[in-house]
Symmetry: C2
Subunit: 313 residues, 2 copies
């Protein structure tokens, strides 16, 4: 049986192989995702993000266990844009998998960056679709840190959970403004630490309602599993809220539009870089710029004009 | 007198106005940088980066004072890719300027992101050229935090200084691998803190020679100015090393080539986004993708094919 058929049957080994193809940008990967795409749209995609040290992996592990109790199949994609390693951090994945006793209803896979964010966001989307087509009910995208790159990746998700904790330093406070805007649900993890209530109230005070949804703040102690059922309940509520929204179709259209734009940009950039590197004119313009006979902006515009024609012009 | 003429005369107000134009991507800005470009190439550009809390601003302030003692004119560009504010954090700039008694040989300006890294890197390059043409001998690019984005911006510099400090947590250790590669000179600041020697030796142990240059580790206490002359000496040594390199011209060519590629990418992306948003076909393809009649990758390729012709095909 070929990979797509095996993925559709829920074979986790085939899922792993498919994600590797996507990660390597194999030409085969495009055919594969094309075949799987009509079978997607069933899963609920949850993004989990937050500063390093807040206990994201432990929390995600406990979410998996609770979702399994509720009969859901779970796929986890751990994304690390700052790591240059490729092929997935396989050893780490295996160690995490072991905690779930090789339960075939759970699959964990990590993905790292090849230095370009656009490529990673695209690979994340494709990996989510592979999970989705393989019958996972819940897909969790977990980022290692938090930043502009992570925000872009998390945008693939239907719901975003932001993890905070007590005793986060000023550094974290400074980035909070950015974090606050992307969260649909907030978690104050490590709630057994001192200062937990202050973090809880500070967080709640910073969140306003958006479009009729007031992001709740959930108190958890991931280590012991405390608060995890409440987090899953909040996620279900958010999903119901989302599905009941009158502008739901418009939002979905905008998501697809943004994805198409991203893909066009990515393809275009790759093609242009290839063309430029083969062009003798490019080298001449580099020399002229270095000699200050032209300036970088004029040189770039000249290249662009000679390289490309937009149709209809 | 027009802005470029005033910039060439070293008028800091004109420099400020020119940088605002560049930041706003005003069409006038391109003409301006074009006129200034032949007058650039004199300044030495130093990138200063490192984790938040290591005392970068204080260190940069003390570097300014020491460079002024040595008769150098200094421009500082404080770049914050995570901040969405525009127009420069003017109040902050003024407060920092006051510390230098409105010395006309010093000019400090901050720049923030408009959400795209490519644009910020380009604006940073242009701002550096404006400083350069205005007669600054030393230009310092200071990033607020550290990350992939900051690394990209710091690439504009001739020399990169990485600031570390004792008592940085595990979180920072984890990113060190990435930091270690970009530094030409390392600083262990706050050397009066406990554990300073350990940080010093750990840092030194992680650095290997590159192309005959072994990045030194300088011990500073920015608050008191301790170690700052040594840092400036190390920077001068690095500049001499760089100027004596036999492959110097090739390196400069590669820098220009990378800049041209970046500018072509940026221009192209902007044009394409504009075109796509005007195209009825784009909306049709979004609908077809949403209805699962096509998949995102095929849709993107279709758009690309219909929108653009590469010359010579």
């Amino acid at each position: 049986m070929d990979i797509p058929s095996l993925v559709l049957k829920g074979d986790n080994k085939a899922v792993a192989r498919a994600i590797t193809l996507v990660e390597n940008r194999d030409e085969q990967a495009q055919q594969l995702v094309k075949r799987l795409y009509p079978h997607t749209g069933h899963a609920f995609v949850i993004g989990v993000t937050g500063p390093t040290g807040t206990g994201k992996s432990t929390l995600v592990d406990k979410m998996i266990i609770e979702y399994r109790k509720r009969g859901k199949k779970v796929g986890v994609l751990a994304v690390d844009p700052s790591s240059p390693f490729t092929g997935g951090a396989l050893l780490g994945d295996r160690i995490r998998m072991l905690r779930h006793n090789l339960d075939s209803g759970v699959f964990i896979r990590s993905m790292a960056s090849r230095g370009d964010v656009g490529g990673l966001a695209r690979a994340t989307r494709d990996a989510v679709r592979i999970f989705d087509a393989s019958g996972k009910d819940i897909i969790i995208i977990e980022t290692v840190g938090i930043g502009q790159t992570e925000s872009e990746i998390i945008r693939v998700a239907d719901a975003t959970v932001v993890i905070l904790m007590p005793q986060l330093g000023d550094e974290i406070q400074a980035v909070k403004a950015g974090i606050m805007e992307i969260g649909d649900i907030f978690v104050v993890n490590k709630f057994d630490l001192e200062g937990a209530n202050r973090t809880f109230y500070n967080t709640a005070a910073l969140i306003g309602p958006r479009n009729g949804w007031k992001p709740p703040v959930i108190r958890t102690v991931a280590k012991t599993g405390k608060g995890i059922p409440e987090l899953l309940d909040a996620l279900r509520k958010f999903r119901e809220y989302q599905e009941g929204q009158p502008n739901r179709q418009r939002v979905q259209k905008e998501k697809i539009a943004a994805e198409l734009l991203g893909r066009v940009k990515q393809e275009l950039t790759e093609t242009v870089l290839r063309k430029l590197n083969q062009s003798p004119e490019f080298q001449q313009l580099v020399d002229r710029t270095l000699a200050k006979k032209t300036d970088p902006n004029t040189a770039a515009r000249t290249l662009l004009r000679r390289l490309i024609r937009f149709t209809g012009e």
